[in-house]
Symmetry: C2
Subunit: 497 residues, 2 copies
């Protein structure tokens, strides 16, 4: 019976987090602005009670008493719950509170520093973040490198020593490609991407395609607007994605389809883990593999626009005037080195990530001092992308992550990119999947993803998912080949160039 | 320090209820339909944890240990919390669970019985509801009458023996008025009230006036659509009202302003009781006095339409065509006996309530048997309103209340109506308030309501609020005088008639 009690308790914890999640979603989308102060207190209560309930002595007893699981599902539940419990109880309350306070201060200092492009005022807070990261790694424990303890929060089981060679390979093989693309020059007229497109029509088109192409239906999902697009959910039948509208209208479309990838992952997790800690994506990297697959590998493909260009032309004739599927396909696949990560294309994006990974590793080890960071950032931007930020706001201060104590988070973006192509290549070995993709009909692909990725939730590690689904560990090969083939076509590069 | 710990704990309880409230609001307004099952489990967890935290042994100790309060605010907080705690702990868990199950079954049986207009299948469930109501009254305790223990849930301190003479007086003095109005016949062309009025325009007009006339602003409130209009809130700076659109367009307008009255009450509660059990309206009756004041005494007044008719004409020219303020004023004040309570006008509404009060009192005492109820209902409908329901769906089965175990709830509607006029009369003794009302400028009135009603939350009882604000206990006099004067004018009745 203790297994039943454990499940009841895990269900309560899950419900508390779901409530905190709804409060957060509401805050970002609909909440009247004056409600913010009390909402903060309410969310803190819910998260505090959830943490208390999960780390409490009774939970420890129940995890202990559960003994040998009856079936595979229970085994996974116990494994994941014991792992989470062990990690959650390794950080003393005083440390968690100190870190929360320091992050709050660092976040405000960063907002101010970015506003004034003044790294110096942020520097002491970044020192503090690095100090906390080192202490957190020591508290959590690690075998090889303190970075592993941090990375493990986002990418369970992954180590810096595994990331480094993959990233080095990716860098060495895509840098020449990037240089050739830059040398080739524009491949389309990009001004069409800022033609006037009514905000409501943008959202409606993006949402309609999210349903028709990718299976995200109003029966179990909704779309709203927020300052920064995100996906959240309160069960697999209650998925929420948000979008925003900009002058550059592909932001709304591809942003929506990116979040749709996240949402469909959560949708596909087996119901047997409902209201348990297993019922989430396996890692940030695996999550990102789904969002980037939908956004880039599918929605930035030629078959996609062959199918959906007529729909776009119907939804927004003035945007589509004089265009065709091929022109649009080329326009939305522009490669152009730029300063800002979140605006980067498929080829340059990973350089932004690798740069950050290299720098945060050096900072954590103490090889690089915080005061040397802006210079190191700018040198590497020059090396990778041939650009030097005119100021730190457009350089080292652009991301929220470090100010929020998120050290070890950045690599997951590129791990997701790599995995997206490796998974898609594996899926295409099934002829029905491959044929569907050529017609932009993704039903067979979705079924393959549910079977091989989604349904497992956190019951498999990211490495297990990659190896079982694709037959080999994560590698840069498929991604590099994908980029080479796609962009050689768009930019007219010779194959052997 | 135990007072601090108590406040922390009450804050947590309040936050859990706020989260459950947001989940419920979301469910009624926006939630994808397939999310319902898990949402039910999540809400049950939040309410269960809130109840556990509030009734737990530590709360009892803290309420005990708090000793003598330091100030008036703490005194009120202790008084209300001790009262709630005592009541909450008087019902054993087994009773609460049995009642929840029975209500759930009764509710489904009622839905089905109403659908088929078949009272007999609902009858055993109503027997059970009455049985539970009697046992609940015994568990809660009472001095005079078991009904008092039930009524006290909604109208703290009120007794059946106080309600009865007030209702009898109201009945005896408004029945002759109603008969004279019916004899006088139509006072306007009511077909204008179903002219086509675009749903978005209805909602926008209603919401704009809610802000301009009644002070409900987007900075701390929002309006959404739901099947049944309601008001809820998660703090005084996070008010949510809902509306619905029907062919009869006044439903959206007056419904919105009704909920605005509820919302502005919660808005006016003093911040010092934030996140405590004091921070709610004093009772359902006092709440209803505010919603009915806005909906009827203000928005169905001549000065209101003199001011807002031009705005309506601007918002919906095709609706206003050929009309003027006076015509519209008469049309929205139609008096006409009808079968359905929620559609009733100001004069007939209270008869629907009094009938239910008299019948539920007789059922509780056992003077009336459940199987005799439809006949008793129909006889009284004939006596009061001159109508006989063609079937039980349009008669005794029309309301959700009894099937949900809400016995002792109905009188609060009429108590609210009576109090609304008694309060408004008192407020008008202030010349600035009176002058404002004549121009449909409600700033001075709102300030008076905050001062005399809103700010106190539950720190005063409904009786204290009525007596302090108006100088006398609740009586039917002002309400009767209001109806006589208003409808004599509209229906051209002679004053001494």
């Amino acid at each position: 019976m203790s297994m039943d009690e454990l499940k009841r308790r895990l269900g309560q914890v899950s419900d508390l987090y779901a409530a905190a999640g709804l409060m957060s979603w509401d805050q970002e989308t609909l909440m009247p602005e004056e409600a913010a102060r009390v909402r903060g207190l309410q969310m803190a209560t819910l998260e505090g009670l959830a943490h208390e309930l999960f780390t409490g002595a009774r939970t420890a007893e129940l995890l202990e008493a559960a003994g040998e699981p009856q079936d595979e599902a229970d085994a996974a539940l116990l494994r994941v719950s014991r792992r989470d419990h062990a990690k959650a109880t390794r950080l003393p309350t005083e440390f968690v509170e100190e870190a929360a306070r320091a992050r709050n201060e660092a976040h405000h200092a960063w907002l101010d520093a970015r506003q004034r492009s003044d790294f110096a005022t942020f520097a002491p807070h970044l020192e503090k973040m690095m100090d906390l990261a080192r202490r957190q790694a020591d508290l959590l424990g690690y075998d090889e490198h303190p970075y592993d303890a941090l990375l493990d929060e986002y990418e369970p089981g992954m180590r810096a020593s595994q990331v480094e060679p993959v990233f080095a390979d990716l860098r060495d093989r895509t840098l020449p490609l990037l240089r050739r693309i830059v040398a080739a020059g524009d491949a389309a007229d990009y001004s069409v991407l800022t033609r006037p497109f009514a905000p409501e029509a943008q959202k409606a088109f993006a949402w309609r395609v999210a349903g028709e192409a990718f299976g995200l239906k109003p029966e179990f999902a909704r779309q709203d607007e927020s300052a920064h697009p995100f996906q959240t959910n309160f069960s697999r039948s209650d998925l929420r994605i948000t979008t925003r509208v900009e002058d550059y209208w592909p932001a709304c479309l591809f942003g929506t389809w990116h979040e749709t990838g996240h949402a469909m992952y959560e949708r596909g997790i087996s119901e047997r883990w409902e209201r348990t800690p297993v019922s989430r994506g396996a890692s940030l990297g695996v999550h990102e593999s789904q969002s980037r697959m939908f956004e880039n590998l599918l929605a930035r493909s030629r078959p996609f626009w062959e199918r959906y260009f007529p729909h776009l032309a119907e939804a927004a004739p003035e945007v589509a005037a004089g265009l065709d599927a091929e022109t649009l396909y080329r326009a939305v696949n522009r490669v152009s080195p730029s300063l800002i990560r979140v605006e980067a294309d498929e080829v340059t994006y990973n350089f932004h990530v690798m740069l950050r990974f290299e720098l945060e590793l050096a900072l954590l080890e103490g090889r690089l001092k915080v005061h040397e960071l802006p210079e190191a950032w700018n040198a590497r931007m020059q090396e990778y992308l041939g650009l030097t930020p005119p100021n730190d706001a457009l350089g080292v201060l652009q991301d929220i992550h470090w100010s929020s104590g998120l050290i070890g988070y950045f690599p997951t973006y590129t791990l997701g990119n790599l995995l997206s192509v490796q998974l898609l290549e594996a899926a295409k070995r099934d002829p029905a999947v491959a044929a569907g993709i050529e017609r932009a009909e993704y039903g067979p692909l979705l079924a393959w993803l549910v079977e091989n990725v989604h349904q497992h939730g956190r019951s498999l590690t990211p490495t297990q998912i990659a190896e079982r689904a694709t037959g080999r560990p994560l590698t840069a090969d498929p991604y590099v080949a994908y980029l080479q083939e796609k962009y050689a076509g768009i930019y007219g590069l010779r194959a052997e160039d």
